[in-house]
């Protein structure tokens, strides 16, 4: 098993943890956190591939991660604003109950 494969396994394990978390929990914040974990796992892959790429000086993987982190920050901000909006409407953040499109 090459080190790259170790990294990839690490990343896929993290992705699956995030996936299971996002699917199994009903708390909106936890679901968001699970999605964050999945994003992080993807970032991890980029770095791993960059690390073992033939030309690391180009830095595409690193740049991609930087963009991805920026997008993740935006996602977290909007997601948590949504959570607060949901809470304001239904006084809890259980996603099963967030089934109305009208507040």
């Amino acid at each position: 098993m090459s080190p790259l494969q170790v990294c990839l396994l690490f990343s896929s394990a993290l992705f699956c943890i995030g996936l299971v978390g996002a699917l199994s929990r009903s708390n909106a914040i936890l679901v968001l956190l699970g999605i964050e974990l999945m994003l992080n796992a993807a970032n991890l892959n980029f770095i791993a591939f960059w690390r073992y790429s033939p030309a690391p000086a180009v830095g595409t993987g690193v740049l991609f991660v930087i963009f991805s982190i920026a997008v993740a920050a935006a996602e977290a901000a909007v997601g948590l604003a949504l959570v607060i909006a949901i809470y304001r409407h239904q006084k809890n953040i259980r996603l099963q109950e967030a089934n109305r499109l009208k507040g």
Binding site: V6, L8, I17, I47, L63, A74
Partner: protein, 171 residues
């Protein structure tokens, strides 16, 4: 080298897994922060210094704060922080999906010839990164800027309340 990687991986995965399984939201959030730290450590291990610090700055410095803030704002009492466990069927099906994805991914990883030689840790200086960002990736940078601005405004609009005026009127 690989021992360090294994150490980082185990810590990160363990904290992430426990975070996803815990009932206490605050503990979950704090453990996730630990796993984000683990990821930063991995980036450092891989030689992506800038990304590692950015990861800490953005995730630990900003996103974790927003998460904790959201947790505190969306509870009525301390007991509320203990989230009821997911129903058994839901948990089982989620685990099933997760396991399936894991198996598929693992098979793909092992099936692909990825036998790269262990090389020395590459380095990329901040100056190089900057040149790349401002050169070939300038368009992407602008788009990210726009996304962040839009997200900021969107978040404000979503979270802003009707009483926005009451605080503003105070001197």
């Amino acid at each position: 080298m690989n021992a360090a990687l294994a150490f980082i991986a185990v810590l990160t995965l363990a904290s992430a897994a426990v975070a996803m399984a815990l009932r206490n939201l605050i503990h979950s959030a704090l453990l996730l922060i630990a796993s984000w730290f683990g990821l930063a450590a991995f980036y450092l291990w891989a030689g992506a210094e800038f990304v590692a610090f950015a990861q800490v700055l953005v995730y630990v410095g900003a996103i974790s704060m927003v998460v904790l803030f959201a947790v505190l704002l969306t509870r009525r009492s301390r007991q509320d922080l203990a989230v009821e466990p997911a129903s058994l069927g839901r948990a089982l099906s989620a685990l099933l999906v997760g396991a399936t994805v894991a198996v598929v991914l693992a098979r793909a990883i092992f099936a692909t010839p990825l036998a790269v030689a262990p090389t020395a840790t590459p380095t990329i200086s901040v100056r190089q990164l900057g040149a790349q960002l401002m050169g070939p990736h300038a368009a992407a940078l602008l788009v990210v800027g726009v996304i962040l601005t839009v997200a900021l405004l969107g978040a404000v609009v979503l979270a802003a309340t009707d009483r926005a005026d009451s605080k503003e009127n105070a001197p």
